[in-house]
């Protein structure tokens, strides 16, 4: 594994995903067990007053989580929090990004705090995220 820059302010190269599809939502819903039809059934979404089904927030939260663990290690994550902001929709091109916010020592471990975001092609914020990792060796 190459050395990871843990300087405060260091950023990971953003991940620009392919346009969101309802297939993405269905695949995540099958994996997670949340089968709310608002995310895949067009007529159900229309009856609820939405132009189309909209994205499952926890799907993008999961992508943001794995974006962070691909960076700092699956075994090392100790905390991950997301805040849901504006909705995401089929066709959206989402960009996942992260930066080192702090490095600190606590309980005999070196911890790394990161700030994360998932933004829409409009510039709008879909998710904000915060994570803490044990510093990778």
């Amino acid at each position: 594994m190459s050395t990871i820059d843990l300087t405060v302010g260091a950023e990971r190269e953003p991940f620009v995903d392919k346009p969101l599809t309802i297939t993405d939502f269905v695949r995540y819903q099958g994996a997670s067990g949340d089968m709310n039809p608002i995310h895949h059934d067009s007529s159900f979404a229309a009856r609820a007053g939405y132009p189309t089904p909209f994205a499952v927030g926890m799907l993008q939260a999961g992508v943001l989580g794995t974006y962070a663990t691909d960076w700092l290690g699956a075994e090392n994550v100790r905390r991950f929090k997301v805040q849901f902001r504006e909705q995401a929709w089929p066709g959206d091109v989402l960009t996942y990004s992260g930066r080192i916010a702090a490095v600190r020592d606590e309980g005999g471990e070196r911890l790394v705090d990161v700030e994360l975001a998932c933004t829409r092609q409009t510039g709008g914020t879909h998710l904000l995220g915060w994570a803490t990792f044990v510093a990778p060796n």
Binding site: D17, F54, M58, G62, F84
Partner: protein, 149 residues
């Protein structure tokens, strides 16, 4: 929803962490991480948000809100937090989960009305009884229908 819900608990449930489910979840969340595939490095580790799939192991009695009438069209998922004591669970782990309503509080909405925040915590213990993970879901009930969520 109101503060009378604080302290309500659901029934405990058992969850087996499975390699195939981890792989399915990792694919669905577009991971590039070998740790979720297992192989020579040992049992696959679970992705950060994997414990959301504990839904498959829960029945209606597992929810601390069982029997409470809710206006789902006014409820948003505001925040979701995962905390791990040590590395996240691995395939083969057998966990016992239990959910509770930790906090209920109100705030004035920016565009009028009142928002009620409900924080539900689910603790996961391993087979030897150690706390290994804690999930915290913040749900927001608005006093009028919303188009965000």
């Amino acid at each position: 929803m109101d503060t009378s819900l604080e302290g309500r608990t659901g029934e405990p449930f058992t969850m087996v962490v499975e390699a195939g489910k981890i792989r399915e979840f990792a694919r669905a969340t577009k991971s590039q991480n070998d740790a979720y595939d297992g192989g020579p490095h040992g049992a696959p580790i679970s992705p950060t948000t994997f414990l959301m799939s504990s839904a498959f192991w829960q029945g209606p009695e597992s929810s601390p809100l069982a029997g409470v009438k809710l206006n789902w069209e006014r409820i948003l998922h505001g925040e979701q937090e995962f905390r791990f004591i040590g590395a996240p669970p691995r395939a083969g782990d057998v966990l016992t989960g239990q959910s509770r309503i930790d906090k209920v509080f109100e705030k004035a909405g920016k565009r009028g009305g009142t928002m009620t925040f409900v924080e539900q915590v689910t603790d996961f213990h391993n087979a030897t009884g150690e706390l290994v993970a804690e999930l915290r879901s913040t749900m927001i009930e608005t006093s009028k229908a919303t188009t965000e969520g």
